[in-house]
């Protein structure tokens, strides 16, 4: 019998709070974290807003109660969120060989490289920042900090990265390879990604408007989030408190274009379809969808088309919480997993901010107001990325 996979802890840091309870409070009070850029050094400070965490690296290092030497902002955010997840699940020792750590990032150490590379190009000396440039660096810093010794890995599938970390962790537990996995991701604001998305002309200068006819693009964000996943056996053995079950997941490729999604939303459709199939539930049993909903012309239209294909006329309540945090790239899947689980366990449908007019080609309307005391049983969360990587997760109430 495959093992059931339960979530027993979670941790998060985003522009709406340094931990789960602060994030929850900001959601309930509808306090988005998208504001003028103050920490990142860029010529676009006045032009673009972002879901920026208003702490310097030094302050983050103090918060992580670690040593800041050679730690990138990516690693620091990851340390803070992963430590919360670990404490939340009341786990003290992660060093056994049936425990794993799966992290994900796209920016990786670029946040540090971009500050030092200009000087290097002039002098050709002191290129040692290459040691923190790659994706594995933050993962190893976090693993060392948590004391996780075995089964360490890093995934990078653009903006679906941490959803895939959760899928991979769930598969390892389901098959009995591991009993416990900390899975999630971390990404920070960088000039590199800000300029990259700007060059693609998909940044909104104002607050992003997911699923709105007049949407202009996304707001970038930063954050980190991790779930502690444990097997049914492990949970029973330790009499653990369970937050929810990882009920299903799907991973597909859109196979259409490096950055744009297909007009039919094929990848999104296939990922959701597989997630529903592996859950063994009917689409009609899903009560809330935390959509990818970046606010770009392309994503919201094609995600909407895929939603209509799966759910027909009865699309469940849906929203994009990127209107609170901005798009946290590799971390988005895990950040939104935390929000989905907060919604599920607190009976909450989170509103989609800044929405006024439905996309005329779709005529679907996201949830505009906070719904309290909602009877939620299953929540679906979508994460799609460059390279056609599409992933969906389904969380089930226990």
């Amino acid at each position: 019998m495959p093992q059931k996979v339960f979530v027993t802890g979670m941790g998060i840091i985003s522009s709406i709070g340094n931990n789960c309870s602060q994030n929850f409070k900001s959601i309930v009070e509808i306090t988005p974290g998208i504001s003028d850029i103050e920490i990142l050094e860029t010529v676009y400070r006045k032009k673009f807003k972002a879901g920026e965490i208003k702490y310097s690296n030094k302050q983050l290092a103090e918060m992580a109660s670690g040593n800041s030497d050679n730690l990138t902002r990516t690693a620091l955010l990851g340390m803070i969120a992963a430590a919360e997840a670990m404490a939340h699940a009341q786990i003290k020792n992660f060093s056994d060989d049936k425990t794993g750590f799966i992290s994900s990032t796209t920016v990786a150490g670029m946040c540090r490289t971009e500050l030092l590379y200009g000087d290097f190009l002039q002098s050709k000396i002191n290129g040692s920042f290459i040691e923190t440039n790659d994706c594995g660096d933050s993962t190893e810093c976090i693993a060392d900090f948590l004391g996780i010794k075995n089964n360490i890995t890093t995934i990078s599938t653009a903006c679906s990265s941490s959803a895939n970390a959760i899928i991979h962790g769930s598969r390892l537990i389901k098959s009995g390879k591991l009993n416990r996995v900390v899975a999630g991701g971390t990404d920070v604001l960088s000039k590199f990604t800000l300029n990259g998305f700007h060059s693609l002309q998909i940044l909104d200068e104002d607050w992003c408007k997911p699923f709105d006819e007049n949407r202009k693009g996304l707001n970038l964000g930063e954050g980190a989030a991790y779930l502690v996943l444990e097997s049914e056996d492990q949970v029973l053995k330790e009499g653990k408190k369970i937050l929810c079950e990882i009920k299903g997941y799907g991973n597909a490729n859109d196979a259409y274009h490096q950055t744009a999604s297909s007009p039919e939303g094929t990848g999104a459709f296939l990922a959701m379809q597989e997630a529903i199939q592996t859950s063994g539930i009917n689409p009609g049993e899903i009560n809330y969808i935390n959509a990818h909903g970046t606010g770009t012309m392309n994503n919201d239209l094609t995600e909407g088309i895929a939603l209509k294909k799966i759910f027909g006329k009865n699309i469940p309540a849906f929203s994009s919480t990127k209107s609170f945090t901005g798009h946290t790239l590799a971390a988005a899947g895990a950040v939104e997993a935390v929000f989905s689980i907060l919604a599920l366990t607190n009976g909450l449908v989170i509103p989609n901010l800044n929405f006024s007019d439905p996309i005329s080609a779709l005529d679907i309307i996201p949830e505009k107001k906070m719904v309290h005391h909602a009877d939620l049983k299953y929540v679906l969360s979508n994460s799609f990325g460059f390279g056609g990587n599409c992933s969906s997760l389904i969380f089930g109430k226990v």
């Binding site: 990078s156 598969r171 300029n195």
Partner: protein, 355 residues
């Protein structure tokens, strides 16, 4: 216990003539440099010119070896595409970064940004094949390729009929070489010719791409059976490594004496090689030992060249003399153990057997 997993096709692009199916350590290229860059002549016809023009070298190497591995296994449809890369699309990333710095964040072209994400190779393969299947990219330093392999094995455990494309790819553009040189990772040019003979620091950097088709079904094109894979993070000493190897072998139901060949991931960097060297001189002293990084160079996915080598050796029933590091008698290989390290932090074991 792992399911039976077979390597049913493979193709390698490296500084050696590995893209040529008939080449097997006959003529060995030794440029005598501290970096070994791949020439694209051998595989330039593998991708249509209109497509390859828009790809970076990294993507071209990945796509050409992936398509060619599929041909080798005579399959057209994939159940999953899983790629490991330590550094991702380094050249395009740094091109975009350089232009951002030089232009002070103004008027940038998105072309290199679009191709800078780490999943570009897996994405381009999916795009060319119109393959909607499971698509994953692992990016953990010296575990990148091993993690991709482990995932492929777990896919086959779910359904043995799957055909999984799994590969490792990394590039060493000039922008990368000048950085690792300044960081002291590269061997000094003067020391580069005597790869292992002296106690010098630094490695000879390499690049390339090896792809494999794995399946739970043995076929006429099967090379070998992939028995077991394990990663070991930051071992404190050789004792810890030895214990892990012993457990690995007992889990695989094999004695050390049944391992006829060990491929060691000696990188040429005296410091990083210490532990493997010690185990080679003691624990593995009665096993035939081979090296490979002196022919392919060091990179996060260098281990994928060792797996390619091992698969071909088992199929050809032949161990090229040039690879041998000790005088243990060569025989027809049945169980080959790859024991790799990357920067003395990421260690791994891969076991391949005759099928």
């Amino acid at each position: 216990m792992n399911p039976a997993v077979y390597i049913n096709g493979t193709r390698c692009i490296s500084v050696q003539d590995t893209f040529d199916r008939n080449w097997f350590f006959g003529e060995i290229r030794n440029p005598g440099k501290n970096f070994l860059q791949v020439s694209e002549d051998a595989f330039k016809n593998a991708i249509a010119a209109n497509l390859s023009r828009r790809m970076s070298k990294m993507v071209r190497m990945g796509v050409a070896s992936a398509m060619s591995a599929m041909n080798d296994a005579a399959i057209e449809k994939l159940s999953a595409i899983i790629v490991g890369t330590g550094n991702g699309c380094f050249e395009d990333s740094l091109k975009f970064l350089k232009s951002m710095i030089e232009n002070e964040e103004k008027l940038l072209s998105p072309a290199t940004f679009i191709q800078s994400t780490h999943n570009t190779v897996a994405a381009q393969i999916a795009l060319l094949l119109k393959c909607y299947a499971y698509n994953f990219t692992y990016v953990h330093r010296g575990f990148s390729f091993e993690n991709a392999l482990q995932d492929a094995v777990s896919q086959i455990a779910e359904d043995k009929n799957k055909n999984i494309l799994v590969g490792g790819v990394d590039e060493i553009p000039a922008a990368y070489l000048e950085l690792i040189d300044s960081a002291g990772w590269l061997k000094k040019q003067a020391d580069a010719e005597n790869y292992f003979s002296n106690d010098t620091g630094g490695v000879i950097a390499g690049e390339g791409s090896s792809f494999f088709i794995l399946s739970g079904i043995k076929s006429l094109s099967s090379y070998a059976q992939l028995k077991e894979i394990r990663t070991i993070y930051n071992p404190s000493d050789t004792g810890e490594l030895r214990l892990t190897i012993e457990k690995f072998l007992s889990d695989s139901q094999l004695q050390l004496s049944s391992i006829d060949t060990v491929i060691l991931g000696l990188s040429g960097d005296a410091q990083s090689d210490n532990k493997i060297k010690f185990l080679g001189e003691n624990y593995f002293k009665n096993n035939l030992q081979l090296s490979f990084k002196n022919y392919f160079g060091e990179s996060p996915i260098a281990v994928s060249f060792a797996l390619w080598m091992a698969a071909v050796m088992i199929r050809k029933k032949e161990i090229p003399e040039a690879l041998c590091m000790n005088n243990v008698r060569r025989k027809e290989p049945e169980n080959i153990l790859v024991f790799n390290q990357y920067r003395d932090k990421n260690y791994s074991l891969i076991l391949l057997s005759k099928c």
